[in-house]
């Protein structure tokens, strides 16, 4: 689910990004899946380092969005992906 790439120039702490994503996902897919799914998708995308780049964040959100469509439909998934993007943008920059 390609969304507007507002995260392209970002650099964030990977675990903070994953926590932010989990918080948004939890009401929909529960705590356990909200924690494990983004980590599993990170693994699939080869994201293993402590820092995550904007392009990697976009890829991760796209992948999660595609999975969410199955449960929430396209419209709702887009909203959830936007919420995740906002939550990530709200995190502090890595110096």
């Amino acid at each position: 689910m390609p969304g507007p790439s507002t995260t392209a120039s970002l650099r964030r702490n990977t675990s903070e990004v994953l926590d932010a994503i989990s918080r948004v996902l939890e009401p929909y897919i529960g705590r356990l899946m909200a924690k494990t799914a983004p980590r599993a998708h990170c693994g699939d995308l080869g994201i293993h380092s402590m820092l995550i780049e904007g392009a990697q964040i976009d890829a991760l959100l796209d992948k999660l969005g595609l999975a969410l469509v199955i449960f929430l439909g396209k419209e709702k998934s887009e909203i959830v992906v936007q919420d995740m993007r906002k939550a990530i943008l709200g995190l502090g920059d890595v110096k």
Binding site: P27, L32, M33, I70
Partner: protein, 272 residues
């Protein structure tokens, strides 16, 4: 009226109707069931309660299907579930006609309603298998293939072990062939329905606490109650266990009520 309000209202109604039927099953001689809630009233509660829940489940399933984009795997699954619930609804409407259009206390068995009830099973099984496939395609960590194969084999064995002693007296009963066939066919199809149901329950547990879990916990509980209801009905109809009639009604009511709840949870998630 919002979907949430409708779902909550139907949930409350299901609770009240289920309590009335449970009370009658436990204490049929109680004063309330002799005076206020006579046999026809109880029959109406069971029959029209079930019909209402099936109408809601069918309509909301059709709407859910339309809310998923073409090409989404779950859209196809909802597409199969729609005629599955529709067939159950048609069967229940025919039962209601026998009981209140023709004034019969007991609908004939077998009847034309069974054509629809039998038809509903392959449609529901296909829908659940498609949901299962869609969930596996989601890329979410939903367990290993070997775990699923082991679980399916375990359920099949368990169904055979439990089903054999339950169904054996039905095979050797004096009932006419078609009645005997249907009383065997329903539990066998229930067994087949239970396999994707259990696999989906296993997957859904990983979503507990979330909205997706609520959808599947209620929908799949509906499937489990349907299986229990069919087993009770087979004993009631073929072995003359008339004492089970209220439990049969109660379990079908719970099954259809939970179907409606599950489908409305999904509707709520899609539109609110």
């Amino acid at each position: 009226m919002t979907v949430r309000t409708l779902r909550r209202s139907l949930g409350a109604l299901l609770g009240v109707l289920a309590l009335i039927l449970l009370g009658r099953a436990l204490a049929p001689a109680a004063v309330i069931y002799q005076d206020t809630l006579g046999p026809r009233t109880i029959l109406a509660i069971g029959t029209f309660g079930k019909l209402l829940f099936l109408v809601v489940a069918t309509v909301a399933t059709g709407l859910n299907r339309g809310s998923f984009e073409p090409g989404t795997p779950t859209r196809t699954a909802w597409q199969w579930l729609f005629p599955g619930f529709g067939a159950l609804m048609a069967g229940q409407a025919i039962i209601a006609f026998y009981q209140f259009g023709l004034g019969l206390d007991e609908a004939p068995f077998p009847s034309i309603a069974d054509v629809f009830f039998v038809l509903s099973y392959p449609l529901m099984i296909a829908a659940l298998v498609l949901f299962l496939r869609a969930y596996l395609q989601s890329g979410f960590p939903v367990g290993s293939r070997s775990e699923r194969i082991g679980m399916a084999a375990g359920i099949l064995l368990l169904c055979a072990a439990i089903g054999y002693p339950i169904l054996k007296p039905l095979v050797s009963s004096e009932a006419v062939f078609l009645e005997r066939l249907l009383n065997l066919l329903y539990p066998v199809m229930d067994g087949l329905l239970l396999i994707p149901t259990a696999l989906l329950i296993r997957i859904s547990v990983r979503f507990r606490g979330g909205a997706v879990w609520k959808i599947w916990a209620t929908l799949l509980a509906g499937c489990v109650f349907l299986c229990i209801a069919d087993a009770l009905f087979a004993w009631f109809s073929q072995l003359g266990r008339t004492d089970l009639v209220d439990l049969v009604d109660l379990t079908y009511l719970l099954s259809y009520g939970l179907f409606a709840q599950g489908v409305l949870y999904q509707r709520q998630l899609l539109v609110e």
